[in-house]
Each structure stands twice: as structure tokens, then as C-alpha cells.
């Protein structure tokens, strides 16, 4: 018989008070301010903005503190907050070609217009822990170099001139961009919807899948045509103004992956492309996204779907870490009744199993006796 039970209210309240205490930690250590997190843990803030799918540094910083540095919990908090706000509309598509570039490198062209700008990168560092940082010494101002403002066309535009690379991805003229925050996922999905899902997808999951394509599971010979990081201007069409209203700038990371393609019945040999675009300075994520985007275009190019990274339903259904953590973590919540039912079932099956075994033994004994 099932008896409804209640309880745990005091335990829950006290647990939350304890959480608040442990979050604050030793009171003799100064409390973190949000501006410290925004300034000094900027890439963590960017990850929360990208996977929380909400561009707002202070909110991401607050989420990080509230989650005690647990990034997926912080992303969860940001996602939940989003649902409390009204929606004003869709911006005009950003122009990454007009970006105020802070980093831009290409692994395919040494001398491209605008040049190779390393920016604030971890690349070429020795990955040695720096005791001076622990001591909290002063940091020198960065060097400046006078330079003419130079146009920095996307690298894809350069290769396109020779016709050796496929163009930017087009959709039918009357296609309205899908929005996974408004409509449930349906498979197969158009590339625009897939890109939206990938852009907010879990960095670790996409990184592992991207890595798997490099190791031979859906190999597609990628090159980084270009990675660029910087600020782009946002504009919104609103009914009360006769022009698109400027909203300010947001930092994004864009990756143009260029992939060798030997051609198929459907397409001639050419370079194909994967695309990555994410909020903030998130180079690894943008690259992983571009690798996954290309792998997921397998059927479009008539390639055999043989690996996990090419399986759209598998990748997109499992890329969202808020959904994933929700389903995995719910397992620890009370399942007393479920388990009681399972327990009954197993007991019954064991009784039947034992009965069968005993009956079998009895038969054997009788046969032996005869």
C-alpha cells in the first residue's frame, strides 16, 4: 500500500542556509565583487553567456558567484532568468566583416589582408604556473602600435574568388530563421536551427565530438580558415523609428573551418565549410562548433553517416547541458515509490526464479533416483 508522506521542509531550508554560508566561505576573506569576476574571470563569464544563451556580463558573473563557480549550474540560472523577461524582437544579422577585431588568425593564408593578429591569446605560452600572479604584482600596460585602420575581409571571401570553396550557406528566399526557444526540436532540422542549438551547446560535448572527427570518426580534413574575435554592432528594427536602432556592441567569436572534400555524385571536388559563431571570447567552442556543423552536413554532401558526430538527432538532442544535467541530476531526487515498485517486481521475479530452479532440481533428483 502507498502512503503519502511529507517532510524535509526544515531540512531543505537549513540546507539552503548552509549553502549560503559555504558559498560565502571564510568571512575573513573579502567577498568577491561582480566587477572583479567580469574583469578577471572574463572567459568564464563568456562561457556562461554563450551556453546560457544570454549576453549580459553582470548577470553571468552573478550566476557564477551564486553557483559557487559551478559553470553548468550558473548556465542553468541564466537560462531560468531569461524566461522572466519580455522579448523585444530579433536583431538585424550582425556583420562579422565589420568587426572591431581583437584577434584574428588564419591557418590557411599567411599573408591575408589585415594580417595575422594574435591578440590576447594563450597560444605560444609555456603553460607554466606563474607565482607572480599569486603574489598579486602590478601588470604592465600592453604595447601599442600605430597602424592604419585596415579592412579585414573574412577569409572565406578570399577563397570564394577562385570558386574552389562553397559559398556562405544560403536558405530558400522565403525561409524564416527557426528559433529553438519558441518551437520544439524536430528532426531532420535545417542548418540555421542546428547552428542555434550548437551555439548554446555544451563546450565539452562539442569539443569531444569535434575531436572525434579529427581522430577518424567522420574525418573531414579541417583547416582553420579563420578565427576572429571582437566587437560587432547590434541593430534592432522597431516600429516607432524609421531606421534600425543601434543597441551597442557585443563581443563574439567566429570560426570559419575549411574542409577538404573529394566530391560526390551531388557536388564537385571543392573546399566545404563548417561555421562557428558564439558569444564572447570562446575560441575553442567556436572551433568545436564549426567541426560539428561540417560533420552534421554529411547527408547534404552525400557522405555516409557512420559516426556519432554526423548523427544530427544524437548530437543536437544531447548538446544542451541544462537539459542533460536536469535529466541526469533528477536521478538523485526521491524515487521511493518507483523504487518500491521495482523492488516488489524483483522480489516476485526471484521467487519465480527460485521456484523454477527448485522444480528443476526436484526433476533431476527424481530422474537420478529412477
Amino acid at each position: 500500500m502507498y502512503v503519502a508522506v511529507k517532510g524535509g521542509e526544515a531540512a531543505i531550508a537549513n540546507a539552503h542556509a548552509l549553502l549560503a554560508d559555504r558559498r560565502r566561505g571564510d568571512r575573513s576573506v573579502p567577498a568577491l565583487r561582480l566587477d572583479q569576476i567580469v574583469e578577471q574571470l572574463a572567459l568564464g563569464v563568456d562561457r556562461v553567456m554563450s551556453e546560457g544563451s544570454l549576453y549580459d556580463r553582470e548577470l553571468a558573473a552573478l550566476a557564477i558567484v551564486q553557483a559557487r563557480g559551478d559553470m553548468i549550474e550558473a548556465i542553468f540560472l541564466v537560462r531560468a532568468y531569461r524566461t522572466t523577461l519580455p522579448r523585444f524582437g530579433y536583431t538585424r544579422a550582425i556583420d562579422t566583416g565589420a568587426m572591431l577585431v581583437e584577434r584574428r588568425v588564419s591557418a590557411t593564408y599567411k599573408d591575408l589582408p589585415g594580417g595575422q593578429l594574435l591578440g590576447p591569446t594563450f597560444d605560444y605560452t609555456h603553460r607554466l604556473l606563474d607565482p607572480e600572479l599569486a603574489a598579486g604584482g602590478d601588470v604592465a600596460e600592453p604595447l601599442q602600435r600605430a597602424s592604419e585602420a585596415e579592412a579585414m575581409p573574412r577569409v572565406s571571401a578570399i577563397l570564394a574568388c577562385e570558386g574552389l570553396i562553397e559559398p556562405d550557406g544560403d536558405m530558400p528566399q522565403d525561409h524564416v530563421p527557426g528559433d529553438i526557444t519558441r518551437e520544439p526540436l524536430e528532426f531532420p532540422m535545417a542548418r540555421d536551427i542546428r547552428l542555434q542549438a550548437l551555439s548554446r551547446g555544451d563546450e565539452g560535448f562539442l569539443l569531444a565530438l569535434g575531436y572525434s572527427t579529427q581522430r577518424g570518426y567522420a574525418r573531414n580534413h579541417p583547416f582553420v580558415g579563420e578565427v576572429r574575435i571582437g566587437e560587432v554592432e547590434l541593430e534592432l528594427d522597431v516600429p516607432e523609428l524609421p531606421f534600425a536602432v543601434p543597441l551597442g556592441s557585443a563581443r563574439v567569436t567566429e570560426c570559419q573551418m575549411v574542409n577538404q572534400f573529394k566530391g560526390s555524385a551531388k557536388a564537385p571536388p571543392q573546399f566545404t565549410r563548417g561555421y562557428g559563431l558564439v558569444f564572447g571570447q570562446s575560441e575553442r567552442k567556436a572551433m568545436a562548433m564549426a567541426l560539428c556543423d561540417r560533420a552534421l552536413r554529411a547527408t547534404e554532401f552525400g557522405e555516409d553517416v557512420v559516426a556519432a558526430a554526423q548523427d544530427e538527432e544524437f548530437v543536437i538532442s544531447h548538446s544542451d547541458n541544462v537539459q542533460a544535467t536536469g535529466f541526469v541530476e533528477h536521478l538523485k531526487l526521491p524515487h521511493y515509490v518507483d523504487f518500491q515498485a521495482e523492488l516488489d517486481l524483483v522480489r516476485r521475479m526471484r521467487a519465480e526464479h527460485d521456484a523454477r530452479e527448485n522444480a528443476g532440481k526436484a526433476v533431476e533428483k527424481r530422474e537420478a533416483a529412477e
Binding site: 519580455p86 530579433y90 573574412r154 572565406s156 527557426g178
Partner: protein, 153 residues
């Protein structure tokens, strides 16, 4: 001719709104108080915070797709002299949105435009430009200068 004028004026107004949206609330308040601009206006809407969905393009220049959302705060005000001003700006700074909407309204008043331009917009614009220039110069210092290493012939 008149159409052209109206279009030019729209572009100018858009540039003013862009400057206000890009600037921080602190900078706007500081200059506002220094300039002694009036901060009384009837609030027609907001200031209120909501979301916009940011769009990118596949491959950089292809079909649009939704990247994610951003917080935006907007306000609409009306001056006693009748001009209606708007602001939409990234973030959740309500005071900034209100002042920027008032600035937009004041700018539309021919008798106030010059004051707004010189005391508020121009200094904000020059601060933004020098910040952008500094960023560009810092990035330029990390540009790779390749040189050729000659092998033996």
C-alpha cells in the same frame, strides 16, 4: 531635396543614438550633470528590460540564424515641448535608458540640439573613439611580421 534632408537627419539621429547606446551610464550621468541638461520628461514607456535575439549569418554572409539572446533596456519619453525620444540599449541600466531617451528628444528640439551635441554627444563620441583607437593599437602590436629565412642555395 527635402527627402534627402530628412534622410540625412535620420542618419544623424541614428549616430547620436548609437553613441548613447555605446556609452556607459556613468559617463552619461557625469556629462549630464556637468552640462546641467534637464532630466524632467514624461515617461511614456519604461524604462523596462527585455530580450532581443541576436542574429548571425551562416558562413558569415549567408542566411540569418539565431545565435542567442541579449538583455536590452528601453525607454520612451516626451518633453514638455512635445518631442518624443526613444532609447534601446544593451544591458539593464534603467537610468541610462531614461537619460538617453531624453537626450534623443532634446536633440530633436532645434533650440536644444547644439547644446546636446557639444556638451554630451561630442565628448562621449571622442571618449569612445579614443577607446576604440587604443584597442586597435593594442591589437596591432600583436600583428605577426613574417620574414623569410634564406636557405643555402
Amino acid at each position: 531635396m527635402r527627402e534627402q534632408e530628412a534622410r540625412d537627419q535620420q542618419l544623424e539621429r541614428k549616430a547620436v543614438m548609437a553613441t548613447l547606446a555605446q556609452s556607459t551610464g556613468d559617463d552619461i550621468v557625469l556629462l549630464w550633470n556637468e552640462a546641467g541638461l534637464p532630466s524632467e520628461a514624461e515617461l511614456l514607456r519604461g524604462p523596462e528590460t527585455g530580450l532581443v535575439t541576436v542574429r548571425g549569418r551562416i558562413g558569415g554572409g549567408g542566411a540569418p540564424f539565431n545565435v542567442g539572446e541579449a538583455t536590452v533596456t528601453r525607454a520612451t519619453v516626451r518633453l514638455a515641448s512635445g518631442q518624443v525620444g526613444h532609447c534601446y540599449a544593451l544591458g539593464r541600466d534603467k537610468q541610462k535608458a531614461k537619460l538617453a531617451a531624453i537626450a534623443d528628444a532634446l536633440w530633436q528640439d532645434p533650440t536644444r540640439r547644439n547644446e546636446v551635441e557639444t556638451k554630451l554627444i561630442a565628448p562621449l563620441q571622442s571618449a569612445l573613439a579614443s577607446a576604440r583607437e587604443r584597442r586597435r593599437a593594442e591589437t596591432a602590436a600583436t600583428k605577426v611580421d613574417f620574414f623569410t629565412v634564406r636557405g643555402e642555395d
